[in-house]
């Protein structure tokens, strides 16, 4: 169970390979990757991700610990970047490993749902017009309901 919060980019392929190779007894590995999405207008210059050092790591570890209680997981990994990112860049990834795919899929979805609205990250989008804080979506909050 690993949580990493970092400013630097990471190599998705190497991370997934390393994770899978470290789970010799797992039959299934599920990964999710989040990218910086351009705006509908196509004019996003960059995204700035702010976080709450200390609380971020704690919140992610707690979310991970909850997933381990609910599903049979061999391992899990969360990597989330902060700082300045360009459209198309990788923001974050989660990986889950389990004996069977069902636990790995469900746990990965659970981690993503909680991470989106319970881990202290805030996104700000920069265009030539200025900067806008990304607003949270009510459906992200509603998504938590299915796990209670």
């Amino acid at each position: 169970m690993v949580v990493r919060v970092q400013e630097t980019a990471f190599d998705l392929g190497a991370e997934v390979k390393g994770f899978a190779e470290g789970c010799k007894n797992a039959g299934a590995v599920v990964t999710f990757t989040g990218l910086v999405r351009d705006l509908a207008s196509g004019n996003l210059d960059r995204m700035l991700i702010e976080h709450y050092p200390g609380m971020t790591e704690k919140a992610l570890s707690e979310i991970e610990a909850e997933a381990v209680k609910r599903w049979s997981l061999d391992d899990s990994l969360i990597i989330h970047r902060h700082g300045s990112l360009l459209p198309g860049e990788i923001i974050m990834m989660v990986a889950t490993a389990s004996k069977h795919r069902k636990d790995a899929f469900e746990a990965a979805e659970f981690l993503m749902d909680y991470l989106k609205s319970r881990a202290p990250f805030w996104k700000q989008e920069f265009t030539s017009e200025g900067a806008e804080w990304v607003e949270s979506k009510s459906e992200d909050e509603a998504a938590l309901g299915r796990w209670s």
Binding site: Y52, M55, H80, M92, S117, A119, P120, E135, S136
Partner: protein
């Protein structure tokens, strides 16, 4: 003394990321009222509490959370990770 932290647009409105506050407030709500009475920039940032979230000692909390023994309180908008 309590360390008070602000993030995202709350930080921008208040103008500092962090400050030490000398307060007798016994709950987060009281702390918010105390700061809001102090200066307009706080009153602006805290004008709609329903748009804010609070963490007490780095745990998400409610605004009626007590402050006894607390070292750190953070105010921020709903989170947008992932």
């Amino acid at each position: 003394m309590i360390d008070v932290l602000y993030f995202a647009w709350v930080r921008e409105r208040i103008g500092v990321p962090k400050e030490s506050v000398d307060t007798q407030a016994t709950s987060v709500t009281e702390l918010v009222a105390e700061l809001s009475a102090r200066e307009e920039r706080y009153a602006m940032a805290f004008s709609d509490i329903s748009a804010l979230r609070v963490a007490v000692d780095q745990e998400l909390s409610e605004f009626d959370a007590p402050l006894q023994g607390v070292r750190e309180v953070a105010f921020f908008p709903p989170m947008t990770g992932g």
